[in-house]
């Protein structure tokens, strides 16, 4: 992983010091942000979830080069899986379930992560299998269609059997509980008051760090190279013995797992899920994060996700009051501004900086040699 931050990689001591400061900053962040209001801690928690989503999508889009416009479906699957297995909904709807689980359905955290990952991976393979032979733009549209299909099913599976409770969504979802500590309440930690929001933030931060490590390890592995080979030239990849079909399916499956786990966390955090949270726009937002940051470059994707998750919130607190002050009315509400940012990000980046804000560093041959060469296309 020597290309992450070139100078740091050459000096292990500097790398450790930088890592320490980064860790300290991340730990202290919610306390600082909390000074400005609890809403900001929520923003940080969601930023972590978005980073996870962006990194997951990055595996599919960035590493393997498959443009998936329906990624949010995996987020939805993970969220609803947890919602169904950790809320009173199913026991209320189906008497036989209530009998089988007299204490209600409460999924423990240690099962949530593997379940969320597994079910998302399953859907990843389900959605990936039919699209393997499709070309880039067709692949994008079909995956978009799949994302929509999942949302429509979730929205309508409330008759004849009420599985998902349709547009009303599922409420009263259990909060996360680890080692007896329930995350929905403020806890007392060695004399310090740690609010529920901060607890969730730390949990999401831990999961995000694990996600980053996993992605970095995958990138630098036999599988990561196979993905990149497929992205660069599928025919040559096949000629080198890569089973392109299976490797693409792995990309879909592994990419989906991060979405699934993030979705389950989201359900627990909010306590409530509905199909409205999983519309196409969300898929596009995650794609915008990957594109803005630097397709295929993990640090870039992280930056892109944080920027597009946090910046709109900043704007909400600055732009709206400014407009009130200048015009007496709000012409551009924050919600619209947020969408505009995503749209602009995608257009401007593709036009002016197609590799993203922070692309992978490139190494070219010595210019002297280049003068005498005849470069192939």
């Amino acid at each position: 992983m020597g290309l992450l931050l070139p100078r740091l990689s050459k000096d292990p001591r500097a790398a450790w010091i930088a890592a320490f400061f980064l860790a300290a900053t991340l730990m202290a962040l919610p306390w600082v942000a909390g000074q400005f209001g609890n809403a900001w801690i929520r923003v940080l928690a969601f930023a972590c979830l978005y980073v996870m989503l962006a990194l997951g999508l990055n595996i599919v889009v960035g590493f393997a080069g498959l443009l998936d416009l329906g990624y949010i479906a995996f987020y939805a699957v993970g969220a609803y899986m947890y919602a169904l297995l950790a809320s009173p909904h199913l026991t209320q709807q189906f008497a036989w379930i209530a009998q089988a689980f007299p204490d209600g359905l409460h999924l423990s955290i240690w099962l949530v992560v593997p379940f969320g990952a597994a079910i998302a991976a399953f859907f990843g393979i389900l959605l990936g299998a039919p699209v393997l032979k499709l070309r880039g733009d067709y692949l994008a549209i079909v995956t978009l269609g799949f994302g929509e299909i999942i949302r429509i099913f979730i929205n309508n599976l409330n008759a004849p059997l009420n599985v998902t409770n349709g547009p009303q969504g599922i409420t009263l979802i259990d909060p996360i509980t680890i080692a007896g500590v329930t995350f929905s309440k403020t806890i007392n930690f060695f004399g310090y008051e740690v609010s529920s929001l901060v607890l969730y933030y730390y949990l999401f931060l831990a999961l995000t760090i694990i996600t980053v490590v996993i992605c970095m390890r995958l990138q630098d592995s036999r599988l990561g190279r196979a993905w990149m080979a497929i992205r660069e030239d599928e025919i040559a990849a096949k000629a080198m013995g890569i089973n392109v079909r299976n490797v693409k399916l792995l990309a879909f499956a592994l990419g989906a797992t991060f979405g699934g786990v993030a979705g389950a966390m989201f359900a627990a955090f909010q306590g409530f899920v509905s199909p409205e949270s999983f519309v196409l726009n969300e898929s596009i937002i995650v794609l915008a994060m990957v594109v803005l940051g630097g397709i295929g470059h993990i640090p870039g994707v992280i930056v892109g996700a944080i920027l597009l998750a946090v910046l709109p919130e900043f704007l909400r607190y600055t732009v709206e009051p400014t407009q009130m002050f200048l015009f007496g009315t709000v012409i551009l509400p924050a919600e619209i501004l947020r969408m505009m940012l995503y749209g602009l990000a995608m257009v401007l980046i593709m036009l002016y900086r197609p590799k993203g804000l922070w692309p992978a560093p490139e190494h070219g041959v010595n210019p002297v040699v280049q003068r005498h060469s005849r470069l192939a296309a």
Partner: protein, 309 residues
């Protein structure tokens, strides 16, 4: 039997609109190999522009007949849509003509979002009512019912499509368009200005979208900033079904898809014993899309193109 006829009529209405929109997708794809993701939103701009025009004129010309207002609305929408489409082509697509194909697709998605935000600012986020301008009492037709608006949709679309076929196949301009679609560089060597032809293609597509947008808004009596998404996606499916890049294919695909959706929605309850209801209608289009792309990617009327190693 009446149900069947009713669904067929519904299918033709829907299909005619899909066909008009699909033509825009297929013509642009034929020339640029680009899915104009923002095409559905051009439709939306057309519908809302027409709506604003009509709402503006109604109190001013109180006695004006409904059909006149409708025509004026369409005439107002067309230039607006053409302008929007040309600006998009010039600013967002042209610089990326030689970029890898995913780049303009991502840009197109961005443009689509920007159009929607623009519409949100100008027209707000609420669903707006499109006034009923024609006498829409249901007319009996062999046991099924139809309104004037819907009948007009079918007739107008047919006229437009015939006109387009004449344009593409019988005029010098049409020849230039077909040549550019096959090979822009060689067409250029023959004296055709590819940029001009491309702009024209976008303009025609936009005009068709404007008309389709007004039809859609009039048929469903509603218009809002997100109305272009579903018809846009389905029309794209129709274009693929017919054979992307193929103009008669787009027309055929549009009508077929409309019929499939209407018949499917009508009968799905019976077919699945009530498990799946008609609100799953939207899924048909997606299933058709996936099916076509997997089993017959060249569509109904398209040709197989071989891949050279």
């Amino acid at each position: 039997m009446e149900l069947l006829l009713q669904q067929i009529i519904n299918g033709l209405v829907l299909g005619s609109m899909y066909a008009l929109i699909a033509l825009g997708y297929t013509m642009v794809y034929g020339i640029l190999n680009l899915i104009n993701f923002a095409h559905g939103d051009v439709l939306m701009v057309g519908a809302l522009t027409a709506l604003s025009t009509i709402l503006f004129l109604q109190p001013v010309f109180v006695d004006a007949p409904g059909w006149l207002l409708l025509i004026v609305g369409v005439l107002a929408a067309i230039p607006v849509c053409i302008s929007v489409s040309l600006i998009i082509e010039r600013v967002a697509y042209r610089p990326l003509r030689n970029a890898p194909r995913l780049a303009p697709l991502i840009t197109a998605i961005g443009v689509s979002i920007l159009l929607q935000t623009f519409a949100m600012i100008v027209w707000g986020r609420n669903f707006l009512t499109f006034p009923t301008l024609l006498d829409d009492r249901p007319i009996e037709f062999f046991g099924a019912t139809i309104t004037i608006t819907r009948a007009l949709v079918i007739v107008t679309s047919a006229i437009i499509m015939i006109g387009l076929m004449v344009l593409v196949n019988r005029t010098k301009l049409g020849r230039a368009m077909r040549a550019t679609a096959e090979n822009p560089r060689v067409a250029g060597l023959m004296g055709v200005n590819p940029n001009y032809v491309i702009a024209l293609t976008f303009a025609i597509g936009a005009a068709l979208a404007a008309v389709a947008g007004v039809m859609w808004a009039a048929t469903y009596s509603t218009a809002h900033f997100f109305m272009g998404f579903t018809p846009g996606l389905k029309a794209f499916t129709a274009a693929v079904l017919g054979g992307i890049g193929n103009i008669p294919g787009a027309m055929l695909g549009g009508l077929l898809l409309g019929l499939i959706e209407a018949l499917g929605a009508g009968y799905i309850g019976d077919l699945t014993n009530g498990i799946l209801g008609s609100h799953y209608q939207d899924i048909f289009a997606f299933l058709v899309l996936v099916g076509v792309l997997i089993f017959r990617p060249q569509g109904l009327l398209g040709e197989r193109v071989a891949d050279r190693a």
